[in-house]
């Protein structure tokens, strides 16, 4: 039953009403005529009644149509009104949503702009960082050079003193000679002394200057003949003014001459840095021992001081760049870092042993490289 209802309601309203009208109209025509024929035999009266029946049918159907159409139209109008309202609402909603969307778009574009700006900033910072990195690299190279200059600077005051003293011999000797040459009676002993003074002065100045030259020599050649004892003595003469009267230097050099191939300037720098540290570690008076031995195919150089030593917690940091426990202006914190790097460049090793308040021993191990080795390597190539 319900399925039939569904089927009927599934058919459109216009079909249903047309069908119902057709059926009812048909039934009315058939049955009303029969009933009229049954009751009325007179043909004129029948015609009149048939006219009334026609009118009746028209009125009834008109009323029915009116109600049907009204009901249906009311429903339609209501729907139409609702639709219109919905449409309005929709429009409003669309407007509102559009407004929201516009705002959101505006916000997004703002955010986008900000992001773009941030992106630009990041790009700019990235470029700046790259530049800074390059600057840092340049600065590092400069610092390595500056350290050399700084350690020279620390020594310069003393070096000036070292040079001024022998210059004083020269000036004193010259003054004396001038004086004696003017004199009638010449005292050969005095003249010899003045000349000797001048010679000593000149020798001392040349030693210092040649030491400085070797220290500041710049090249990357690792095939120079390095006479270890000579280089050590040179370094000692450069720092001599810091030792005088305060620090005793005990040299225990091996009897044989220790020679290897390397960079003379760099080895000067390594030894000077270590010796300056040893000197600065000794507060008042003390000793610096320098031992050299030839062991297997290596040159071992031990530099021991009786200074303040290095705290155990600092021992691992002393070759870090910029690590220093010295007062500002006394050290750059680069000396041992550079010594370490230069020893590495010579395929050598550097070791530190220290006991606070007792002193420090720095052991340098340099492989002996001879010209034969270099030639062998060259022929291998």
């Amino acid at each position: 039953m319900s399925s039939l209802n569904k089927k009927i309601s599934g058919i459109g309203f216009e079909y249903r009403i047309a069908a119902a009208y057709l059926i009812l109209g048909g039934i009315w025509i058939i049955f009303s005529d029969r009933i009229l024929h049954f009751f009325i035999k007179d043909s004129d009266t029948l015609t009149d009644f048939q006219t009334y029946k026609g009118w009746f049918y028209v009125i009834i159907t008109a009323i029915l149509f009116f109600f049907f159409l009204r009901k249906h139209l009311l429903h339609l109008r209501k729907t139409e009104k609702e639709l219109a309202q919905h449409k309005d609402n929709l429009l409003e909603l669309v407007e509102e949503k559009t407004k929201d969307l516009n705002e959101a778009v505006k916000k997004l574009s703002l955010i986008n702009e900000e992001l773009q700006q941030k992106n630009d900033l990041i790009n700019k910072q990235n470029i700046e960082l790259k530049e800074t990195l390059q600057q840092l690299k340049d600065t590092q190279i400069q610092l390595f050079h500056a350290e050399k200059m700084a350690s020279l600077g620390i020594m310069t005051a003393g070096i000036a003193h070292e040079i001024n003293n022998p210059l004083n011999y020269i000036l004193g000797g010259v003054t004396g000679l001038e004086h004696y040459l003017d004199d009638e009676k010449k005292d050969q002993q005095k003249i010899d002394f003045f000349i000797e003074s001048i010679k000593t002065g000149v020798d001392r100045v040349s030693t210092i200057v040649s030491g400085l030259n070797q220290l500041s020599r710049i090249n990357d050649n690792y095939d120079e003949k390095c006479t270890i004892h000579e280089i050590l003595d040179n370094c000692l003469s450069i720092i001599n003014h810091q030792l005088k009267g305060r620090i005793e230097v005990i040299k225990k050099y091996s009897e044989e001459e220790l020679i290897t191939l390397g960079n003379v300037g760099q080895l000067h720098q390594v030894f000077t840095n270590i010796l300056v540290n040893a000197v600065q570690a000794i507060e008042d008076e003390g000793k610096i021992s320098i031992n050299t031995i030839h062991k297997n195919k290596n040159i071992i150089i031990e530099i021991t001081d009786t200074g303040c030593g290095i705290a155990p917690e600092n021992l691992s940091k002393i070759t870090d760049p910029f690590f220093t426990t010295k007062d500002p202006g006394k050290g750059t914190g680069l000396g041992l870092s550079i010594a370490y790097n230069l020893m590495q460049a010579h395929h050598g090793k550097i070791r530190f042993q220290s006991e606070p308040e007792k002193g420090t021993t720095v052991t340098l191990e340099l492989p002996i490289k001879s010209e034969a080795d270099v030639e062998a390597k060259d022929t291998l190539r």
Partner: protein
């Protein structure tokens, strides 16, 4: 009139010998290789007029040495002769009047002569 007595303290022997050789004609030059030596010479020579001293010496520097001997030699003129640049310590000693002058090595003997002459004139 006897020659004025001057003392020179320096830990470098050649400096002492040259100083003496160049100035002994005009002055009575005493030299000392250390502060101890200088104190000894001062003790036995109360008539020293002028003292020259090196700055850096083992144990005690020139200014410290002068401060130490100032009470013994209140009238004597002191001079610093040094290869170093002028330091704060030397500047202070100059301002205080502890030393009369600071002379830088290498020095010309004419300068030393002039200083001695001026110093003697004043005292």
């Amino acid at each position: 009139m006897s020659k004025p007595k001057i003392l020179y303290v320096d830990d470098e022997n050649i400096n002492l010998l040259l100083f003496k050789a160049n100035l002994q004609n005009r002055y009575d030059v005493l030299t000392a290789i250390s502060v101890e030596d200088a104190l000894e010479k001062i003790g036995s020579n109360p008539d020293i007029r002028i003292v020259f001293s090196d700055m850096r010496m083992p144990g005690m520097n020139g200014i410290e040495f002068f401060r130490k001997v100032r009470p013994l030699l209140p009238e004597v003129h002191f001079y610093i002769l040094t290869g170093f640049d002028i330091s704060h310590e030397i500047k202070q000693a100059l301002e205080e009047g502890l030393i009369r002058e600071y002379i830088k090595k290498p020095f010309h003997y004419s300068r030393i002569n002039a200083e001695i002459e001026a110093s003697i004139k004043v005292s």
